[in-house]
Amino acid sequence: MRQHLPQPSAGDIQPLIDRHLAQEGPLLPILHSVQDAFGHVPEAAVPMIAEALNITAAEVHGVLSFYHDFRDVPAGHHVVKICRAEACQAMGGAALADAALARAGVAWHGTSANGAVTIEPVYCLGLCACGPAAMVDDRLVGRMDAAQIDAILTEAGA
């Protein structure tokens, strides 16, 4: 169910920018607000942000592309982040991640063909004493096993 929503209009985007202009160093808060609202940072937002902050569009793009969190296209309907860091690997996280990727038929950062699930790596959720760990949209999962990740992907529609 990849979302084919219409591109947000300037009128939708501008208030999300204006809300942060009084903050010191407002660019990250703006990008977070825009992404929270639309699931990604649409191309149309880049020149508007540049204009508001009196920086170049290239600078906005530079920041947007630096951080792993920000996306310029929408993700799948659900985002599953699987921890790849050492503590989860010590509990068999790598094999679990491989199984999940195979089950969804994607590589890291990929979205399943039906648009239901995007699987991304995350380096540490702070659940290191109850790994392997994952985050399914906003829900945290600890002590994950093969059956659980399978159920998560099934529920998400992968």
């Binding site: 160093g25 660019l27 860091a85 702070g126 290191c128 004493a129 790994g131």
Partner: protein
């Protein structure tokens, strides 16, 4: 009846929300008077969700609890682990920084004050700023983020640098695998961080504070934001902190998934709305930090420890510890471990005692192969080195670092060549790109490890050279410390790389 169910991320990840809801529903259906308190975690993660039932002033522990256990807990027929503070893992700790974590309702300011909260700030507000800085110096507190720099000296630099605006920035970008103490204290005792930052502000003359909090911690973000709102409403933050006439206010800034932003100069660039690339030092952030102004950048634990230093006195804190590592260190025991969690203790405990005795060895029951101390940039230690005492200088002397005091345990099924490869791969993914040894070196490091594993033994010398270049030539700890795990894995486990021991050395 009061029942405590943690709101901590680890507890939630193991079903605490469902358990809390089941308790409320069951109590409603049988008309019991039950008050559910969402506390922080006691840090015994293997028992999470750890539910506590208060009976006659004693908090009895149950765990790990599932929804199915709820009726038996309510009718008293479930088997308890006993009073929570008598559980050996908990009873053996010295809790100063984490004294309130898991005990109080994290968002109840009265509960916080009833457990010693705000006493330190009130003392600091009456004191001369220079005297506050001196107290922090006397306490021996060192940066808990990893570098171990004396906190008092950093504060003194900011205090002595005149400026119209100064800042307190809390580094809550806890990205190291195996560490979760910052998250736990922000979720379980957020007012201690707020109080610590207010004291820091008073000490150095800063009126604005920021917490740069990683986006991977949604629960901590929510709890901290709620706590800041409560603190502002109660006059703990604002133009007139606790009626003293001193101004201090703060806000949360959410990171965006870049590990390198845990490095303080990258963090400042990120907060200013730039790419999170490292700045060369000097200038020190204490002189030209956020927005080019004098800035204290301290880790969560450093700042959250400040209130107890002022509540009980610098000498009380400095009495704990070993050599120049004074006070307590919240050790996080993680990975393949039987009893994982947070263990706060005075500096000086041997690594082996933590791993084998406190944590009970591996979860799988297999022998310990290696433990990584200090996050993804920390060295692997083998059981032969388990007598190393937990202290900054002691770990440095053993060719490692304590970093943020995360201890990740691996059993004998682990392929250490793959762990070394992961360290290089992680560095390649997370490098900010500013300096060549890190940006290019990490990519070449992955390739070189692959060559060694494929049978090219001569490439081992190349890997050593590459690591030396990264250590000496990188601007920050990401490129500079990635060689720690790589070289320690190669040194201890040449067989895993397909090498004979002589070839690796």
């Amino acid at each position: 009846m009061k029942i405590y169910v943690p709101l901590d991320s680890a507890a939630k990840a193991l079903g605490a929300d469902e358990v809390a809801e089941a308790i409320r529903a069951a109590a409603r259906s049988c008309d019991m008077d039950v008050q559910v308190v969402r506390n922080g975690s006691r840090g015994m993660v293997w028992l999470e969700p750890l539910v506590e039932v208060e009976r006659d002033g004693v908090r009895l522990a149950y765990g790990p609890v599932s929804v199915a256990d709820v009726p038996a807990i309510l009718d008293g027929s479930a088997e308890t682990l006993g009073p929570v503070e008598d559980i050996p893992f908990f009873a053996r700790q010295t809790r100063l920084t984490f004294a309130r974590c898991g005990v109080i309702d994290p968002l109840d300011l009265d509960d916080y004050a009833a457990h010693g909260g705000l006493a330190g700030l009130r003392r600091a507000l009456d004191a001369d700023p220079a005297a506050i800085v001196q107290d922090v110096t006397d306490s021996g507190l060192r940066g808990r983020g990893g570098a171990g720099f004396p906190t008092g000296i950093k504060w003194k630099t900011v205090h002595d640098t005149p400026a119209a605006q100064k800042y307190i920035v809390c580094n809550a970008d806890e990205g190291d695998s195996g560490t979760f103490a910052d998250r736990m204290i922000m979720e379980g005792d957020p007012f201690s961080l707020i109080e610590g930052m207010a004291i820091a502000g008073r000490a150095v003359g800063a009126t604005r504070g920021y917490v740069y909090l990683r986006s991977e911690y949604p629960v901590a973000i929510a709890v901290m934001n709620a706590a800041i709102d409560t603190a502002r409403d109660a006059g703990l933050l604002g133009d007139d902190v606790l009626g003293s006439g001193v101004a201090f206010d703060m806000e949360i800034r959410v990171g965006a998934g870049a590990y390198v932003c845990g490095e303080e100069t990258s963090l400042l660039n990120s907060m200013e709305g730039k790419r999170g690339v490292v700045r060369p030092k000097p200038p020190l952030p204490a002189i030209e930090g956020f927005m080019g102004r004098p800035t204290v950048v301290n880790n969560v634990l450093s700042l959250a420890t400040v209130p107890v230093i002022f509540e009980r006195g610098a000498a009380h804190y400095a009495d704990f510890g070993l050599g120049r590592s004074k006070g307590t260190i919240p050790v996080q025991i993680a990975g393949n471990v039987k009893h994982g969690g947070l263990f706060e203790t005075a500096f000086g405990m041997a690594l082996g005692e933590l791993v084998n005795d406190i944590a009970g060895g591996t979860a799988t029951g297999r022998p310990v192969k290696a433990v990584q101390v200090g996050g993804p940039l920390g060295a692997y230690f083998v059981p032969d080195e388990f007598d190393t005492p937990f202290g900054y200088e002691e770990f440095d002397g053993a060719g490692g670092l304590i970093g943020h005091a995360g201890v990740v345990v691996f059993d004998d099924s682990t392929d250490m060549a793959q762990m070394a490869r992961l360290a290089m791969e992680f560095c390649a993914v997370e490098s900010c790109g500013k300096c060549t040894p890190c940006r290019i070196g990490a990519v070449r490091g992955v390739e070189t490890i692959d060559r060694i594993v494929a049978g090219d033994a001569a490439a081992a010398g190349l890997l050593s050279d590459l690591c030396e270049t990264m250590t000496d030539g990188s601007l920050c700890a990401l490129g500079g410390f990635t060689p720690y795990p790589v070289m320690s894995a190669l040194r201890h486990f040449p067989d895993d790389f397909g090498l004979h021991r002589e070839a690796a050395e």
